[in-house]
Symmetry: C2
Subunit: 196 residues, 2 copies
Amino acid sequence: MSSSDLAPWRSPLSRALHRNRAQPFCRFLQLATVRPGGMPANRTVVFRGFRAASNQLMFICDRRSEKLDQIQQNPNAEACWYFTKTREQFRLRGQLTLITADTSATDLVKTRQQLWQKISDNARLQFTWPQPKAARNQDNSAFDAALPDSQTPLDTFCALLLTPEAVDHLSLRGEPQNRIIYHRSQASWTATTVNP
Amino acid sequence: MSSSDLAPWRSPLSRALHRNRAQPFCRFLQLATVRPGGMPANRTVVFRGFRAASNQLMFICDRRSEKLDQIQQNPNAEACWYFTKTREQFRLRGQLTLITADTSATDLVKTRQQLWQKISDNARLQFTWPQPKAARNQDNSAFDAALPDSQTPLDTFCALLLTPEAVDHLSLRGEPQNRIIYHRSQASWTATTVNP
């Protein structure tokens, strides 16, 4: 992908990230998926940047978390990203790609490795913790594992890519508010200014 | 419902609201639903308080918005509420009840009326705006309607109630993090401390 292939919503999103950068939580967004059975699920995730030469958003997750099952059965997702300082919301709808320790495609393996190497020691430590959402032991010694190697991802570590197909950008500032909807069709994007 | 019937997650949630009150956006949360066809949807909504004598969260929405169709076909929802100052997340899963101008149950009619009366003039004005997400006219005169009556809701105004069945409270502070999951079974709630 050349830089001319950046989707048109990348520029307003970069601007939002820049203008809200004083707030560390500006990289937190909410990712909705559908549970087996048809109930929605929704949780906060941390944006880990765009995958090189793509419009894919990167996240990390634990192989033992419930969202893995959800994603394997239904890869559809909508991320909702609200920027508190500039008062604007991006809704990014698309498909998720999961990268686990079993993934064999070379470029995906590399992305998972790079993400592991990029995160902090504290973030890496969480992948040594006991089974998420299992009943908690009063004794916390299960959380005392040694620091994992910073080069080779643990098996519990997964990467998650969101490939947007539609993006809805709502800006609450303005009289009235402003809303632009972007749609992907094949390799190209259209942008439509709509009522808020 | 007597005050002893407050669900056990109400107290930590009230505390979070109180401790984050300096940030007006502490009342913003993300509500996930499922679109007809099985795709998830996710958007920011404003918490409008608890309905009297209940554990139901109140929101408002426009009758012409896409979420109405979604909710009528599938009332399941999960709200994700992240508090940035205290670094804690509540995930509230349950069913939505929609209250429109056509709703006849007396207690629901009253809730919709009270919400209309409680919101600001600016919030009420939005319900006079032209069709949400329709192509926008360059001329903004369609947004210049007169202020609606503050007592009687416009037909476009709806109230939305979320009745939680499960609540997942994750606190990122603490070494390690703390997580409690609440489940409703009939009229009573159980609380389980689990691994983060």
